[in-house]
Amino acid sequence: MAGLLVIHSLEKRTKDSIIFPIFNLTIEKGDITAVYSTLNIRKVLLEIISGKTLASKGEIRINGVTIMENRNLFLSGVVLAFYEDGIYDRLKVRDYFSFYRAIYDSNQTIDQLLRITQLQDKQNQKIKTLTYSEKQRVRFGKQLLQHAELYIFEEPDLNVDVETRQVFISITRRLQHEGKGVLILTGNLESALTIADQVLRIDESGLQQIPTEKGESDSILDDPMLEAEVQPFQLNKIPTKVNDKIVLFDPPEIDYIESNDGQSHIYSNGNLFTSASTLNELESRLEHFGFFRCHRSYIVNLQKVREVITWTRNSYSLILNNKEKTSIPLSKSKMAQLKDMLGMK
């Protein structure tokens, strides 16, 4: 099988619960793919890749072998860039790079590396005196010294400054240009959509593609659920913009919509996306999907409402059935309408 990384019908269960159900994923040369998931799934996935835990089913192949078959060959085909990977913080940046240059027998020059990571003026500082973002760039430098065809980054740009994010994005483009594969594991959808050409989501229901306008979807394989999802609903999708990309949402994915400064903010799974449509336009499109205009500046997906709270006789809130238990205002006039809809008198 070709592909830098081939994940074949991988599944992980612990005791009674499924961490993730069977999925397939292949990373080819030149791919930049992000997988958006919870922390737990990400940790387990990385542990399986680095051989710390066994998968319940399926296998992961790098360089054509699994880690059990040939540990050295497997590991030589991948750079595992862990989140907050350990760092020798008493060393100077330059010494740190030359240490790993020798360990990985790299022919990249230190100066070139300092330029890529934009650490030239910090090269003689001890790493512990650097900021969080600069330390992250030191890690990028180390990762570039490791030569492998596939790079797996865990939360590469969490809480970093704009400069570091730019450095990271240009590193991913550089790797892509060199024909390497990049896989980003993140819990931040916005970051995934900004960096990657293709964004996938793994949760308890499996692997799904999050549609973006950019990039092709060649490398996701035969997941039947996925095909069913991508095809027929195009017309009913709600477009939102993330930087220069357009992301499409299925109405059931939306928790609620908030109007803010003439823009509509669409909240899905705890993340915010902006839409150019007005609330009125969205209301008319979404009405028959069970959405309800509960407030002048809110539309809520009634399927996701758990509770109606009465604060005073004139003030109400809707509590959603999500992790954050988001509360949404419900205006008095709309309360009556809602009661009607629910068949309460």
Binding site: E47, S50, G51, K52, T53, L54, R71, N72, L75, S76, L80, F82, E84, D85, G86, I87, Y88, D89, R90, L91, D95, S98, F99, A102, I103, Y104, D105, K126, K142, Q146
Partner: protein, 236 residues
């Protein structure tokens, strides 16, 4: 994977630089030196007393420093990176042990100077010291792998420092408590006995028994360490 001198040297250099900036660890070198200064005031030092200082250097530097640098790699999560890198176990521990070995030797030479110890045969004693250091550094490596942080390592090495540093003094108790007779076979006691023989003019043919016992300890501890590392590497 082949053994690469370049990688081992890189690890050696990195740890040397790192250690030179780490006061917590380097200050432990002072303990044997301090005791050496105290003893140097006394007139007649028996070989037992001299080897108390030397064995203390072994257990504070060889065991404690080695375990601390390895425990720190674990604490800061950098050992994982090394384990996943092309560096082999021989290169990783070779580089680190070399740093500890040089520090141990330096401390022993300094403290021997301070207490005016002049063995009758420098070369025989040097051989014995080098073989001993193999054991102590191996023990330090194992302790480093067993612990998770520098603080934990310093706690766990305390009884070891006591056992190997002071057990020459416990020998007097053997007659009263025969159960303690295993102490005679500890590498530190063997080393002191060996030094006594050498001081009386013994040659290599008289002391090889002692050397062999110390060497068996050294080989044993490294086998255990390697087994433990392999187990960790493929844990799960």
């Amino acid at each position: 994977m082949t053994f690469s001198m370049k990688r081992m040297y890189a690890i050696f250099l990195k740890d040397l630089k790192d250690l030179s900036k780490n006061m917590f660890i380097t200050s432990s070198m002072l303990m044997p030196l301090l005791i050496a200064v105290l003893y140097s005031r006394m007139d007649e030092l028996s070989i037992d007393m001299i080897y108390l200082v030397i064995n203390l250097s072994f257990s504070t530097i060889g065991v404690f420093v080695q375990s601390a640098i390895i425990a720190e790699e674990k604490e800061k999560n950098t050992l994982r990176g090394l384990m996943l890198s092309p560096a082999t176990i021989l290169e990783i521990f070779g580089g680190k042990s070399l740093v500890t070995f040089l520090l141990t030797l330096l401390t022993i030479i300094l403290s021997a100077r301070l207490i005016d110890y002049e063995p009758s045969s420098i070369s025989l004693i040097a051989i014995a010291l080098i073989i001993s250091s193999v054991f102590y550094i191996g023990l330090g490596t194992l302790m480093g792998l067993l612990t998770k942080s520098v603080v934990e390592a310093s706690v766990i090495t305390l009884p070891i420092i006591f056992l190997f540093g002071f057990s020459t003094l416990l020998q007097t108790l053997i007659n009263t408590y025969p159960i303690l007779s295993f102490i005679e076979y500890l590498p530190n006691v063997q080393l002191a006995e060996l030094a006594k023989e050498v001081q009386l003019g013994a040659g290599i043919e008289d002391i090889w028994g002692y050397l062999a016992i110390i060497l068996v300890w050294g080989i044993g501890i490294w086998l255990l360490t390697t087994w433990f590392y392999k187990k960790k590497e493929t844990a799960g």
